[in-house]
């Protein structure tokens, strides 16, 4: 047992830092640090930069063009990207669909789709949830009926993140209703330009627009777009969820939020003294910092276990719960640190030529909206309640 970084890992960290220093534009970093939405162009730009360096697929197996980093190296990369304020790598294609295609897709599908998600040809989004099927995903009702060489899809998907930028969607659809719900689901790839698809924005409580509803009316999809076997889609979906390990704890992002909050606590003044000297605030901050230090090690322990062949267990669910709540707690404490300034909702301070009041420190101009927006992280990706069900189901074995 030894938590100290090897010299090789230290050198690797330096390499990542230098890369980020050289390649990441300051204006993008500034917006990411302020938790503002990242534009389509900025995301595509950053994907291209990473792709050029070969790091866009940093968590892919070497056989599919990955870089072969250890879990520790992957963690270092994520941590430094977060610290630098790099846009996150869009997970839908590269971290969610890709592993499914690698494990269950045909060789043709792999050759067709994997390169396109790397070179920016495709922007993928996810078609899992439905209005009546949130936590109870297996109850989904969108149907795909086979007609010779096409499936005809009818139904509705929702919570489709950044669907407004996407040209492709992977969906879970019902191909058999005469069986228990999980057994009749298939996994299919759909071109969003197909006639019969309508994408409508959902405005979220913070005023933002990052999720969508997708309506399917007699949408014809070639059978070649079915991944794996018909009616086996539930297995692929579970595989995807259980293997969504890297970064699930969001340690890098929380680490960046800790650093930002520590800086803030030195400049915000309460009663004439830095907020950092306020004992209740200091205690809150220390609790979060300790929780993060613990999570860093928990995360690496779990990743190490996976890399040594440990099967998907309750650990992924634990990381999801701890990581999401910790990230929310950082946003919560940051909001508290702002005092009355937290009331201000002034993302316009980032607009060129803005000359109105700057109520909160500039990188906090969107903080309260971000706090409300981040309530999502304990809901999406399988709500934390679902994760607790999974943990006890596995550990109690009932």
């Amino acid at each position: 047992m030894d938590l100290n970084l090897t010299e090789a890992d230290q050198a690797f960290r330096q390499e990542v830092i230098e890369f980020l220093n050289a390649e990441l534009p300051a204006d993008i970093s500034r917006r990411v640090h302020a938790d503002l939405p990242v534009s389509k162009e900025d995301t595509e730009f950053w994907h291209a930069v990473l792709h050029k360096r070969g790091w866009l697929t940093y968590n892919w197996p070497k056989s599919f063009g990955g870089v072969g980093w250890s879990p520790v190296q992957q963690f270092i990369f994520e941590e430094e990207c977060a610290a630098a304020g790099a846009p996150r790598i869009l997970p839908f294609g590269l971290k969610m669909l890709a592993p499914v295609l690698m494990a269950f897709g045909s060789k043709e599908q792999q050759e067709q789709w994997l390169p396109r998600m790397c070179d920016g040809t495709d922007w993928w989004c996810q078609g899992y949830s439905e209005p009546g099927s949130g936590s109870d995903l297996a109850s989904l009702k969108t149907t795909a009926v086979k007609q010779v060489d096409h499936y005809v899809i009818n139904g509705q998907k929702t919570w489709t993140t950044l669907g407004q930028y996407a040209n492709m969607i992977f969906c879970l659809v019902r191909t058999d209703s005469d069986c228990k719900p999980q057994a009749g689901i298939s996994f299919i790839l759909v071109d969003l330009a197909t006639p019969g698809i309508e994408m409508r924005p959902i405005r979220t409580l913070d005023g933002g627009q990052e999720v969508n509803e997708v309506f399917f009316t007699d949408v014809r999809v070639p059978v070649a777009n079915l991944v794996g076997e018909e009616n086996k889609g539930w297995n692929y979906a579970k595989y995807l969820l259980a293997h969504e390990r890297n970064g699930i704890a969001n340690v890098g992002i929380s680490g960046q939020k800790l650093a930002r909050l520590k800086r803030l606590s030195l400049t915000q003044k309460r009663g004439g003294k830095p907020l950092a000297d306020d004992p209740l605030f200091a205690a809150r901050l220390a609790r979060l910092e300790i929780e993060l230090r613990n999570l860093e090690t928990t995360n690496l322990r779990v990743l190490d276990g996976f890399s040594k062949g440990a099967g998907p267990g309750p650990e992924s669910s634990m990381l999801k719960i701890i990581g999401s709540e910790l990230e929310q707690n950082f946003d919560d404490l940051t909001r508290r640190a702002l005092g009355r300034q937290a009331q201000a909702h002034t993302p316009e301070v980032f607009e060129p030529g803005y000359n109105g009041p700057q109520v909160a420190p500039q990188d906090m101009a969107n903080q309260s909206a971000a706090y409300f927006n981040k309530r999502k992280v304990s809901i999406y990706g399988g709500s934390n309640e679902i994760q607790k069900n999974i943990i006890t189901k596995m550990i109690l074995g009932l």
């Binding site: 005023g207 003044k269 309530r375 607790k388």
Partner: protein, 364 residues
């Protein structure tokens, strides 16, 4: 002891409830919240005509209420409707200050909804402390001139006047000054608030002003006004929580997952039960604060801090928990809950947050 509301207050509450139900749709509220003014002047005027502002003041100064329980009754009902219109800082708090400093004509206009007076106490928006303003007022002859910057002044845009706190060279304490909105040397910079509505940064540069009350003696006056405004906030939060409770119970009874309504899932049941009992405790905290509003200031402030702490802690927990219990739908703009939750959390950012009031209570 008596735990029943009076007949008058029951009628007042019913009347506000009916107004909200019939004439205060949430859509209009949301639209008004992002308008330039940040609220709907017609709705404000109607509320004044219905006597909602009058209920916040003593008969002696032209109202027909003014006790802690009157204030709590009005604001609890306003909270239930997520009412945006600025009856707190710019009517209740400033009206109280004006009444105590014999500006009865202006108080009458406030009660009738004809004028609004904003309250500028805060200079450092990171802090909740209003006790040591750096804004400076100087006297030359009979005239006072004020210079300084006030921030996070709620609903100052469109107000007819503003009361600001300042230090003066000639007296050690805080003084209060009344400044007409159109006065030369006053500049306002409005900004939006995340819960709907707006606030201003106000810069004063040698701005002519009228001293309110006795120079240097405003601390206890501001303290009493703050107690009223804080009580009103707590009551508003209680009203918000009552509605959030109803929405959550309704959702638990109707939303199905895994073949049952959510309310059948024991893990959620127990969290709902916890939420409900916390709201009962919050309600008791508001009653205690309303009861002690007339008490000596030490006792009053302890009850106010106990209530604001309770509301801050429980309010944030209820807001977050209700969203979590709703899942995705709770995150949407279209569904009412999120707007109630935003206001509920932002109440923790006015007049001192939970930690601030906890330590005030501990040190009192």
């Amino acid at each position: 002891m008596d735990f029943q509301p009076t007949e008058e207050r029951r009628m007042l509450a019913d009347m506000i409830g009916k107004f909200i139900q019939n004439d205060y749709p949430l859509n209009a509220r949301l639209a008004a919240g992002t308008s330039a003014l940040g609220y709907c002047p017609e709705a404000y005027s109607t509320m004044a005509q219905l006597g909602l502002i009058g209920a916040l003041f003593d008969e002696e100064v032209g109202g027909f209420g003014g006790s802690g329980f009157d204030i709590a009754t009005v604001f609890t009902e306003l909270g239930k409707g997520l009412v945006l219109e600025p009856l707190n800082d710019t009517a209740l708090a400033t009206g109280y200050i004006l009444a105590q400093t014999d500006q009865l004509k202006l108080v009458e206009q406030i009660i009738l909804g004809q004028k609004r007076v904003a309250l500028g106490l805060i200079e450092n928006g990171a802090d909740y402390d209003w006790g040591a303003p750096e804004t400076l007022a100087r006297q030359s002859g009979a005239e006072w001139h004020v210079s300084g910057v006030k921030t996070c002044v709620k609903f100052a845009h469109g107000a007819d006047a503003i009361i600001v706190s300042a230090q003066t060279p000639s007296a050690p304490g805080i003084s209060l000054f009344l400044i007409e909105a159109s006065t030369a040397g006053l500049a306002e910079h409005p900004f939006q608030t995340v819960d709907g509505g707006n606030a201003c940064e106000i810069t004063l540069h040698n701005t002519p002003a009228q001293l309110l009350g006795v120079e240097g003696a405003a601390y206890p006056l501001i303290d009493a006004a703050a107690a009223r405004a804080t009580l009103a906030l707590c009551a508003e939060a209680l009203g918000l929580m009552e509605r959030i409770k109803d929405m959550t119970i309704d959702y638990m009874r109707t939303r199905k997952q895994f073949g049952s309504v959510l309310g059948k899932f024991q893990a959620l049941q127990h969290r709902v039960a916890q939420m409900l009992l916390e709201i009962e405790q919050a309600k008791s905290a508001v009653i205690n604060a309303a009861n002690d509003l007339q008490a000596p200031s030490d006792e009053r402030n302890r009850a106010i801090s106990a209530a604001k702490y309770s509301i801050g802690r429980i309010g944030c927990a209820v807001a977050e928990e209700a969203i979590q219990l709703h899942g995705g739908i709770g995150m949407t703009w279209e569904y009412d809950l999120g707007h109630f939750a935003k206001r509920l959390v932002m109440i923790d950012h006015e007049w001192g947050d939970q930690d601030d009031h906890l330590m005030r209570f501990a040190q009192s």
